[in-house]
Symmetry: C2
Subunit: 304 residues, 2 copies
């Protein structure tokens, strides 16, 4: 499969390029970027320029920041490309709904990825929980933005902030829990000098009334925490390290160690084989709901 | 058609009850309310209690504030009722998506109403614009919350405020304009003592790049303004008085004067005859997008 990459930033270099190189199904034949293309790959400013020079590209993996996704996806679809996109899918829900419709009308494969759903513990946790009655869920997703997004201005765009990692947690719990979640209340804390929240507390219930409490923090010094705890009638499940590790009543389970992006591209190859799309906007919808009904407060200035 | 009303507040008394009384297709046989039911109509605390006492209810029109809609709609669907709901459809998008899915699974008619879309000028404006090239759109929707929502606490719940009238304007422009809208920027102004905005400026483009600028104000003393102005290659269209009046190049057009809620219940009767739902969440999605990407500022305290 001849694939192109759009947006050659940190996530493309850290994850997409190495995992595409390791996957025998894909060959990276071009890049669309205003920066330096990956070594040995020709770079172009636009998808249209790329398609003129490398007309046999079949699919594109889009790793640009969320603003401007619709125009990119529209251009890709016009050239007949299948499309995979990094999370979050778009800057606004309306934009995401629009490109989902365009891909459906064009009959192309669209994969709105949630890389954390590919973490090794997610599918085993889903299967384990499906056989038990859930009493309570708590999510603690706390990291230091300075470490993970050094100098990245887009992370503080309105609508992002701590929801950039937070949406990963939401993508995990919407995958492992058996019922839809409903946001009941939210508290968002904005640094005095940034238009996006640095921390958020979200209170969900699922449609059976089970409480799901979520705590996001983007200012976590020292140990970083990406944990989901689930109390059930049949014991305590814990996902930690971004759902790459799973524990039942404190005992680590063997869930393998396949990296998220290895699995992500394996899934994209499967979708392409079956000509099927995989589109789920629900984590993004929960983020929009948090901004919609969240109560805001101001905290101290953020210093990089 | 034997219909029940849920939520007997200002909008039910001002609009639903008189227009249902005037419509020969409907007979109001019960009310679900914690307050006083309409004269001559038996009142019940819950839908289940109502169905025990008045089992031949066929449909329900829900006029409660948006919080708690999912539980009400779920209960109505369990009793086999067709459902019509006042705007806005829900408190959160996830909740709305959930009851849309439930109604589809239950095979019942669901009508997520937008009463302003039934204003007399809307359909003539849509038809007029469909034959012209649109250059620019401006919306000014400015009213005094003290006049229209005296003492209503729910209006200042997070996520509502000026978007309660504002979503009416969004429901009109999403109906009359030929292409989907994309929010590019938003500015939201919050009173220092309220968790919801009292004013908002929204900059949209449509998918062809046409600018659509929207101005909402909930603190408008003196004359009230509910106007949409559209510049086209074939003249200037103006909708005013909440789209009940239409002007082309300053000349008023005859669009009739059927009231919004008369048309709304006529449409519901049609949907019931055809066993079809009418569900469009796009105005609500634009509101969520405005909260998602909007920049916030604080303004003076709101005094009722």
């Amino acid at each position: 499969m001849r694939i192109a990459l759009a947006g050659i930033g940190k996530i493309a270099r850290d994850q997409h390029i190495p995992h595409l190189a390791a996957n025998k199904r894909f060959s990276v034949v071009a890049a669309v970027t205003g920066h330096t293309p990956p070594e040995g790959v020709p770079g172009f400013r636009t998808i249209t320029e790329m398609m003129q020079a490398v007309p046999d590209v079949q699919a594109i993996s889009i790793c640009t920041p969320p603003r401007g996704r619709l125009a990119l996806i529209e251009e890709a679809l016009e050239h007949g490309l299948d499309v995979m996109i990094e999370k979050p899918p778009a800057a606004t829900l309306s934009e995401a709904e629009d490109f989902v419709r365009l891909a459906r009308e064009a009959g192309r494969v669209l994969f709105t990825t949630w890389h954390s759903r590919e973490a090794a513990g997610v599918e085993p946790a889903r299967a384990w929980l499906a056989e038990r009655e859930i009493r309570r869920v708590e999510v603690n997703w706390k990291e230091d933005v300075r470490v993970w997004h050094p100098g990245q201005a887009w992370i503080w765009e309105p609508g992002i902030g701590v929801f950039d990692p937070g949406i990963n947690a939401l993508s995990v719990i919407t995958q492992i829990l058996p019922r839809p979640l409903l946001l009941q209340d939210a508290a968002l804390r904005f640094p005095s000098n940034r238009p996006a929240p640095i921390a958020a507390d979200l209170s969900f219930t699922d449609t059976a009334g089970v409480p799901v409490d979520v705590f996001f923090d983007f200012d976590q010094r020292g140990p970083q925490t990406w944990d989901v705890d689930v109390e059930t009638d049949g014991g305590h499940l814990k996902l930690s390290m971004g759902a790459s590790k799973m524990f039942v009543d404190g005992v680590e389970q063997d869930v393998g160690d396949e990296p998220e992006y290895a699995r992500l591209y394996r899934r994209f190859a499967d979708l392409l084989d079956r000509r099927e799309s995989d589109v789920d906007l629900s984590p993004f919808r929960h983020v929009a709901d948090a901004f919609l009904i969240g109560r805001r407060s101001e905290v101290g200035a953020f210093e990089e």
